[in-house]
Symmetry: C2
Subunit: 210 residues, 2 copies
DNA sequence: ATCCGATGTGAACGATGTCTACATGAATCG
DNA sequence: CGATTCATGTAGACATCGTTCACATCGGAT
């Protein structure tokens, strides 16, 4: 449905075809790899056709980023579901925070190109992606998932309520920063075990220091 | 020395002229704003002249980044010098860690374009910049300054020695992540007071959780 | 004084984002 | 059912960018 030459004059659903081509480009190569002309090429269409669906390159990029954020959210939710099985409420709440962090870091390591794209030049507002198919049931974005975990911690008495406001920024800072150190920074050559160990230690630091 | 048309055929010191032009470009506009041809234009020189000093665009970019890292290190050292005045060793060690973090976050807020450039697509190895004039006496890079502060904490008994190894990654993660949230993320619209308060709280979290 | 290596110039190529004008065809409406 | 309209795609062009190849110019070593 992407590279194939099309018989009909109209494409059918060029918009999503372009976004999907963009996601493929960006998956390896990161944000720089999103070149409008190549995306149209893969969709079997003239470069200008893209302008019927996106105002410019940046608009296409934002659409791709939104889709990528949906994938990230799904990865985080997958981890969350495991933690939610824990019986003890305090244990579960702590597990949820760790799960959110693990999902985030794991995604950064496994899908570097996508991760870089998701946060290229800023986290922005982390909008919920428009495509509901790619989003999990609740439709929460990564940031909201983190808030969810923190709420659970307060509810379970693991985190004092007065420290709840703003806590997502502290936790997110730590995890996001480590993700960058891992994919591009001094930890990029560390073994997977070392990376995971440091990640776990970071999450303990956050939990302790919050 | 930059825009001026030159009378001599040879420029004199085109290499540093290009780096300085690049720094100006990147200061506003961030990494994307470093366009080779514009840098040569500002140096009053033909585009190809750049290739006598840099293998390609990326090489020029790396040179600019190195210079920017030097400025960042200087900003951090300025903050450090204030903390080093404290008498009580424990107090001083803790103050040094906070100073390093403050310098980092302050630089990110004050020089967004430069900060983005310094860490565009990865922290890499954070090399010491080649230009000694821009570097402070010790010639330490940002990462080493952080290690310095942590060493002081161990020495002062504020940080258990067994937790020292790897601690720079945890601290850097937190501070770097928050810097990104501030310049591009959900905290970009927060007031300077809120940003500073969150920064201070983050640093307390790190100190406590390390 | 002469040569030569370092440095800068000139013209060109392919690629990219984007603009303006034109072509096509599916849906709407008489 | 046929004409028209409007969303969608095409054609061609432009400015800009990074980069290459051949040539020009100069300053310092011989």
């Amino acid at each position: 449905m992407s590279i194939a030459a099309r018989s009909t004059y109209h494409h059918g659903d060029l918009r999503t075809a372009l976004v999907e081509a963009g996601m493929a480009l960006v998956r390896e190569g990161g944000p720089q790899a999103l070149v409008l002309r190549e995306a149209t090429r893969r969709a079997g269409v003239t470069p200008n056709a893209a302008y019927r669906h996106f105002a410019n390159h940046q608009a296409l990029f934002e659409a791709v980023r939104a889709a990528v954020l949906g994938v990230l959210a799904a990865a985080m939710e997958a981890e969350l579901r495991q933690a939610e099985r824990l019986r003890d409420p305090a244990e579960r709440a702590r597990g949820m925070l760790a799960a959110v962090g693990r999902g985030y870091l794991g995604f950064a390591r496994a899908e570097t190109g996508w991760f870089r794209t998701a946060f290229a030049f800023g986290v922005h507002d982390v909008e919920v992606p428009a495509d509901p198919a790619r989003t999990a049931a609740k439709g929460l974005n990564p940031f909201e998932l983190l808030g969810h975990a923190l709420d659970a911690m307060v509810h379970a008495g693991v985190l004092p309520a007065e420290r709840r406001p703003g806590a997502e920024y502290l936790a997110w800072s730590a995890v996001h920063g480590m993700a960058l150190l891992i994919i591009d920074g001094p930890l990029r050559n560390a073994s997977a075990e070392q990376q995971q160990a440091l990640g776990a230690r970071l999450l303990r630091m956050v939990e302790l220091g919050l």
